[in-house]
């Protein structure tokens, strides 16, 4: 088990919890950036510099767009509070580890060599039993993915239109992208480009819809805090975040 990867998984979870629970827009965007950058680095071994660069740029770009959309909209903190969100993220991560173990056992029962991909240390081909399973980088990636999935699902599905839903959209997208690697192994270079494009599009779309929602919600949302005084109806005329 790589301790650096464990630390990254913890950072991803902490960043995501901060992103969905805080009422401070800057802190929320910072948390999102930490979570996305952590996801970019969550790989053992690290990908090529070009791929890593693409991942980091995409992560920062998404965080910037979401932050931009937050400037005009109402603040939308988590109704549960950060302790509950943190517990939820932990539960999600444990479920991800369980999923990874389950997949490895199922693969081993079918006589498939384990170690690539799934769970279990790389070794000679052959079936293993559940007791011999050890946590690998792919299992940690799966855990991070499920953690982000449970954190992002609620704001995405049930959240009011706005920045919180945008954060949910980005987290769920990143979660599926992590799960894809955790379950089926590393992506090729072409897929990496497509994955980062998908993440950026999710961020841009979330930001655009959040900006539009901010314009339509000015002053008429009962449960949200009012927007900053400098927020104007200009966002209503804008298709894209500035």
């Amino acid at each position: 088990m790589n301790l650096a990867l464990v630390a990254i998984v913890l950072a991803i979870g902490a960043g995501a919890v901060l992103a969905v629970s805080t009422r401070d827009g800057a802190a929320s965007a910072t948390g999102l950036a930490v979570a996305l950058l952590g996801a970019a680095l969550l790989s053992d071994p690290l990908p090529s510099p070009a791929v890593l660069g693409a991942r980091v740029v995409a992560a920062l770009l998404v965080a910037t767009m979401i932050r931009s959309a937050m400037r005009t909209g109402p603040r939308q903190p988590s109704p549960l509070g950060w302790p509950s969100e943190a517990l939820l993220a932990t539960a999600g991560a444990v479920a991800g580890l369980g999923l990874s173990v389950g997949l490895a056992v199922a693969a081993a029962a079918g006589g498939v060599p384990v170690g690539v991909p799934g769970i279990g240390e790389p070794g000679p081909a052959g079936p293993i039993d559940a007791g011999s399973v050890a946590v690998t980088s792919l299992a940690l990636i799966t855990a991070a993915g499920t953690s982000l999935l449970v954190l992002g699902a609620a704001p995405l599905v049930h959240g009011r239109p706005g920045s919180r839903r945008a954060i949910g959209l980005v987290l769920v997208t990143q979660a599926v992208l992590l799960l894809r690697i955790g379950v089926a192994g590393p992506a090729g270079e072409l897929e990496e480009i497509a994955r980062e494009a998908l993440l950026v599009v999710a961020g841009a779309t979330g930001a655009a819809l959040a900006s539009a929602a901010a314009g339509s919600m000015l002053g008429d949302e009962a449960g949200d805090e009012p927007p900053k005084p400098d927020a104007s109806g200009e966002a209503r005329r804008s298709l894209l975040p500035r």
Binding site: G110, P113, L179, R180, A184, E191, A194, L209
Partner: protein, 486 residues
């Protein structure tokens, strides 16, 4: 290589059109039109077969990719001209160019995960840009923003779902049993295969808006220009279905269990029947367009329930041809609405008499949508239905073919009725010369003649738009006849 250039040009022009469009509409329309013409030129010179390696993955340009690129870009060029004529926010060409670029790359790429991720990313613009524009243009319709939200979720959600299924299929514990391993034939393996197929079909159902997941699609189509509908649904859905179908045929083959097959047939036929009935009973031409596109997608979904892997070729022909036909129908609906102001059959009495070119174009669309026995579209529909339901397939295919005859036939009958006051008050569909003659075509200077051109164009806006629809109608007939080289 040509495909990569085409995709780069389309992406560049598409993004430029979207970003410029917010502030400088005329410039954005011009950029979009130039981009669609450039892409059409590239599509025409693209070889039928071409291959290269990008990022370790093979990209193979096939006749289907070329046919789709040519048909889509040619349609787009006409839609771009119509968008210029109609005016308003430029919401059609930009997202369509992005969708075309991504669809071309996705269909050519030999890696389903890359294709699915790219399609999810590229398809969003086709919903978000027109959706937000529709919301901005109708301040009294606040529900359009949640509709756009739901549309975004549907497009991204279907792509993510597809990506998850592909990942699970390729995992060590998935139905494929890991790289290079044989597909399991034990009961648990069969169950895995069936589940993978069902989840992929669920992703397709969300993406294409099949019944009962059609509400967001129906609401979305109500709130946007009909010109934006083909990119979001007909072409975007076609690319998604083709990628999903290619994956399911390669990964799963005909090993899915009987129960899953019948579940898929049930889902598809529910949309075929209910979508067709909805198109028949609605008087609103935008609803007819929307439900007919839904019905076309449902026919393609029958390929997932087929026992014959060769049916993918029929699905390719069907999807490309039906998308071309529905693009022409969308253009017709836009021109009718823009020319006469109405969009319900009661308001459209005598539209074809008032605008013969539009009437001829609609006749072409009608024939292309129904198909004739030797046409590729007709054969593809028959193959799709028959391979999913051997025995009763040919009869069912005939019934499905009769549905467009009814819902489009109603519109045609309205066009042949006596001209209503509303239609008579609309723009004339016949060409006329006004300012040009006054400026002196024959005796005036060349400068005067050139100055008269815009005046004549504006005066003949309606017949020129009808000619655009006629061009799309001819294209629909050609594609319906020749297919997509599937």
């Amino acid at each position: 290589m040509t495909l990569l250039v085409l995709a780069a040009v389309a992406l560049g022009f598409g993004l430029a059109t979207i970003f410029i469009g917010e502030r400088r509409r005329s410039l954005a329309l011009a950029v979009g039109l130039a981009g669609s013409l450039a892409v059409l030129a590239l599509a025409l010179v693209m070889p039928d077969t071409d291959s290269l390696i990008v990022g370790g993955v093979g990209m193979v340009s096939t006749p289907v990719v070329r046919a789709m690129a040519v048909a889509w870009s040619a349609s787009l060029a006409v839609l771009g001209l119509l968008e210029v004529a109609v005016g308003g926010r430029p919401t059609v060409v930009g997202p369509s160019l992005i969708g075309l670029a991504v669809a071309g790359l996705a269909l050519a790429t030999r890696d389903p995960a890359s294709s699915m991720a790219a399609l999810a990313a590229g398809g969003v613009a086709g919903v978000v840009v027109p959706g937000l524009a529709g919301w901005l243009d109708a301040p009294n319709m606040p529900s359009r923003l949640p509709t756009t939200n739901r549309g975004t979720l549907a497009i991204l959600g279907s792509g993510l779902l597809g990506l998850a299924v592909i990942a699970w299929g390729a995992s060590a514990a998935g139905p494929l049993g890991g790289a290079g391993a044989p597909v399991s034939v034990d009961p648990a393996g069969q169950l895995s295969l069936g589940l993978a197929l069902l989840v992929m079909v669920a992703a397709v159902a969300i993406r294409t808006g099949l019944i009962p997941l059609h509400v967001w699609a129906a609401r979305f189509m109500e709130g946007v220009s009909p010109l934006a509908v083909p990119a979001a649904f007909a072409w975007g859905s076609a690319a998604f279905v083709l990628v999903a179908l290619d994956w399911s045929q390669v990964a799963l083959g005909p090993d899915a269990a009987e129960a899953e097959r019948w579940l898929i047939i049930l889902l598809a036929m529910a949309s075929v029947v209910l979508g067709g009935l909805a198109a028949m009973v609605h008087d609103d031409i935008e609803h007819v367009l929307g439900y007919s596109i839904l019905q076309d997608a449902a026919v393609a979904v029958l390929a997932f329930a087929s026992l014959d892997p060769g049916v993918v070729a029929a699905a390719r022909n069907w999807l490309v041809a039906s998308a071309t036909v529905k693009t022409a129908l969308a253009a017709w609906a836009t021109v009718v609405r823009n020319t006469y102001g109405g969009h319900r059959l009661d308001d459209l009495g005598g539209w074809a008499r008032h605008s013969p070119a539009l009437g001829i174009a609609f006749a072409g669309i009608l024939v292309a949508a129904i198909g004739l026995p030797n046409m590729a579209l007709f054969q593809a529909r028959t193959d799709l239905v028959t391979s999913a339901m051997p025995g009763i397939g040919p009869a069912v295919a005939l019934i499905i073919a009769a549905m467009p005859a009814i819902y489009l036939g109603r519109i045609a009958i309205a066009g042949l009725a006596p001209i209503s006051p509303a239609i008579a008050a609309g723009l004339s569909g016949r060409p006329r010369w006004t300012g040009g003659r006054a400026a002196g075509w024959s005796e005036g200077s060349l400068t005067q003649a050139i100055r008269a051109i815009p005046i004549e164009l504006r005066a003949n806006r309606a017949p020129l738009m009808a000619i655009g629809v006629l061009a799309l109608s001819v294209m629909a007939l050609l594609t319906a006849t020749g297919g997509a080289g599937g």
